[in-house]
Amino acid sequence: MRSVVLLSGGIDPVSGRPAPPAGEIAAIGLALSVGGAVGGLHAGAPVPALRQAAGHGLEQVDCLQGGGDAVAVLAEALFAAPPDLVLAGRQARGGEDSGMLPYLLAERLDWPLLSGVVAIGATAEGWLAVTIGLAQGARRPAQIRLPCILCAHDAAPAPPFVFDRARRAVLRVVPVTGEEGPGMVAVEGTERPYRARPRLIGTASGGGGTVLEHPDPAEAARVLRDHLRALGMLAPPREGAADA
């Protein structure tokens, strides 16, 4: 099995210094647990955070340098030499990362995606067994068809950092010419005063809740809305308002 771990040019949110996000380190750990060849892939120039990430267990990181939309550049590289498994963190850290990249990539490649993965099990007939981490430490087994994209849970076991590995890691620059993407979207927002929100004391998976199989959108919306009302997240229906 060949795995590719997507790495961002991680920036620590507190210090502003290069540092790989926890989820990406966890993703490396998952890839190593699968065995086989594991490589890193980064859209952009070789930056220090990549070497640090490699210290957690990668021998080589391919850096797709040349600009363009990250999704397009990554998709092209993955399409050219498709691995069995692509792993990513929950969210890159460095710019205005939305956490959408793995999803957009999955859409582009037309691969299935699972997020919140804490462990990877065995493969059988092209299906991979994984464990999804839910809130409050709950775990749920799942199966996914290969090739696929898995987003690691931040709390998945992180492989240790080994300086010797970091210093030996090869950051290989792969020149690319990517199509221009939408570019950085300036975010406009307004600052609003703090509003107290009700505390969510939910239960972990399994207990409570309703499972809808292929619901019709209106029905799904109604169930969601009622659920949020039951939790106190939404105000109760106003008198006389059309509630449908």
Partner: protein, 621 residues
């Protein structure tokens, strides 16, 4: 007859020399010594007679035993050989007999040490045979010399020589088994001692040496990774147990016994090491791995907890009569584990990661370091700026309790009219923790950043209230190009009081015991300034039994708290008990680590105050 005696003593001496060469061949499989090992032999007599005996003499009973035994055996043997070869007269033989008589008394004292019972810190096993072997050698050869002097019949001389020879063979066997090995290995170790600074100047050489991060093998994984002289130092251990008695981790029941550690490292060089008959590390499972120069040490013959329990307090080094450098060995092994394998304890991994990502082991925002001083408007020195004193805040500044100490210090400095500033958010962690945990790469990158930040400012000296930062800045940055005058806050305050810029009036109150921080006392030899300040500020200072250069650690150094190794009791609890034992109602400290560790002692206990706080309370006008 002369030939017989010459043959006997010469034969044993020759066998000892061959044994030494066999040992040497093994040590030479380690990394090469820094300088010329051979040339170091010229230093051996002085280092042995002055430095080793300086430590040995702290225990008069042991010192007397050793002086008599070593002096008698060496003196007698050399003289006897000379007498036998050159055929000198009866008077020389009488002298030989006298020397061996002295050695025999040493053997008697050696026997008395373990009779009626072997003290717990001493080893048994082959050591129990040492007095007998010494006695046989001394009595046999002594009698032979006496018989030569008085012209006794041949049978008597032969009998005596046979007894002496038997003793000689026994001594040779004890070289192999350990008890007599220290004599041979000690020579090699003293010749190639890795801290020559201990024998020159002020006799202090405590800074860790930088590691070449481009080297293929970083730190130590197998015995052959140690420099040759260091391997000799492990073989030089005489198992006296002084280090064990001083070790705080051992006292707290952690899986570390410095004596057992050195014996394990000595045994690690051998496929079949001689049995160890001293106390092991408390509760450490016995590892049954096979040793060898290329066999891994940690996890094979040494339990990893042993490595991480060490607080790097240097109490063992201070006590060791063989001048062994335990902390260097521990840090070398940690470097191997950390840099080559990433095998550190979870808590340590977290602080190392935070040190990498945030330049601060606690992972806090560097800009928040000065928050403790927010109300005092301490100026921040911008790059290019100039001041008299650069105040290095250290990691303690993030701690609310230690903030009180820093505010007291700043208040005193203001009162004395000093001009000072901090680095503000440009102060990164000094790297002490990373370095002690074996992360030399993390240390060097933090140090490079700190040195660069300091180099862009102009100041006369650096003052810090953190002895760990003091040690790193003063003793370890110079090797990386950062050379400044660095002063501990107690040194500064002492200077201000001496110069009359601060006037103190002694306050009545409870008895105050001063707890020496290891990194100020043993690492930097500063034990007087804090005491002078306390004597000027508080009535009734008392000394704990272990104080000054021989003080006991609080348990906070060397990444101990981060590594969090299992223990039976806590080191600071033991230290606090020692303060209570001398009736102290207050413990004076001079280090953020000690403050946190000792304040963490639960239940009713003496108060903990920094020297700066006590001085501030005593300052007048």
């Amino acid at each position: 007859m002369r030939a017989l005696i010459a043959g006997e003593i010469g034969g044993v001496a020759l066998a000892a020399a061959v044994g030494w060469l066999v040992l040497l061949a093994r040590w030479l499989r380690g990394r090469p010594a820094a300088g010329s090992w051979l040339a170091g032999l010229r230093h051996v007599p002085r280092r042995y007679l002055v430095d080793v005996h300086h430590v040995v003499a702290r225990r008069p009973v042991a010192a007397r035993m050793h002086a008599l035994a070593a002096g008698g055996v060496l003196g007698g043997s050399v003289l006897a050989l000379a007498a036998a070869v050159s055929g000198l007269g009866w008077s020389v033989w009488a002298l030989v007999a006298l020397a061996f008589g002295v050695g025999g008394m040493g053997a008697l004292l050696a026997w008395r040490r373990r009779v009626p019972g072997t003290p717990p810190a001493l080893s048994g096993g082959a050591f129990l045979w040492l007095p007998a072997a010494l006695a046989a050698w001394c009595v046999g050869n002594g009698l032979a010399a006496l018989f030569m002097a008085v012209g006794a019949p041949m049978t008597a001389i032969v009998g005596a020589v046979v007894l002496g020879g038997a003793g000689g063979v026994a001594l040779l066997r004890l070289v192999e088994l350990g008890p007599m090995r220290h004599a041979l290995a000690g020579v090699a170790w003293l010749a190639g001692h890795t801290r020559p600074g201990r024998f020159a100047g002020d006799g202090r050489d405590t800074g860790l040496r930088p590691l070449d991060l481009a080297a293929a093998r970083l730190g130590v994984l197998v015995p052959a990774d140690f420099p040759g002289p260091v391997l000799a130092s492990f073989d030089a251990c005489i198992q006296c147990g002084r280090c064990e008695e001083a070790c705080p981790a051992f006292a707290a029941g952690q899986r570390l016994n410095p004596k057992a550690l050195i014996q394990i490292l000595s045994g690690a060089m051998r496929v079949v090491p001689p049995p160890y008959a001293g106390r092991p590390a408390p509760m450490a499972p016995v590892l049954l791995g096979t040793g060898g120069m290329a066999q891994p040490i940690v996890g094979n013959v040494l339990h990893p907890d042993t490595l991480w329990a060490c607080t790097t307090c240097r109490a063992c080094v201070e006590e060791c009569p063989m001048l062994i450098e335990h902390v260097d060995a521990v840090v070398s092994l940690r470097r191997g584990q950390t840099l080559m394998l990433g095998q550190v304890r979870d808590g340590a991994a977290r602080v190392l990661e935070a040190s990498r990502a945030r330049a601060e082991p606690g992972g806090r925002d560097l800009a928040a370091r000065g928050d403790a001083l927010a109300t005092l408007d301490v100026p921040v020195l911008a790059p290019g700026g100039e001041t008299d004193i650069l105040l290095w805040l250290g990691e303690g500044a993030f701690d609310a309790r230690y903030g009180r100490t820093l505010r007291a210090l700043v208040a005193l400095m203001r009162r004395a009219g000093l001009r000072f500033a901090t680095l503000g958010a440009d102060e990164v962690d000094c790297g002490d923790l990373a370095r002690r945990l074996g992360d030399e790469a993390g240390f060097q990158s933090l140090a490079a950043e700190a040195i660069a930040a300091l180099k862009t400012r102009r100041f006369a000296k650096i003052v810090t209230a953190d002895p760990h930062a003091l040690h790193v800045l003063r003793n370890e940055y110079p090797a990386l190009g950062g050379i400044w005058r660095v002063q501990h806050h107690t040194g500064l305050l002492d200077e201000l009081v001496r110069d009359g810029r601060l006037r103190l009036e002694r306050r009545e109150g409870v008895r105050v015991a001063y707890h020496d921080p290891c990194y100020l006392g043993r690492y930097n030899g500063e034990i007087d300034a804090p005491r002078r300040l306390l004597d000027a500020s508080c009535a009734g200072r008392v000394e704990m039994e272990r104080h000054g250069m021989r003080a006991m650690c609080c348990g906070g150094g060397g990444g101990g708290p981060a590594s969090d190794v299992d223990a039976v009791t806590r080191i600071p609890d033991l230290r606090m008990a020692q303060a209570r034992a001398v009736g102290a109602g207050m413990v004076a400290v001079a280090c953020p680590g000690c403050t946190a560790m000792l304040e963490g002692v639960t239940g009713p206990r003496p108060d903990v105050r920094d020297v700066a706080e006590l001085v501030l309370a005593a300052v007048v006008a």
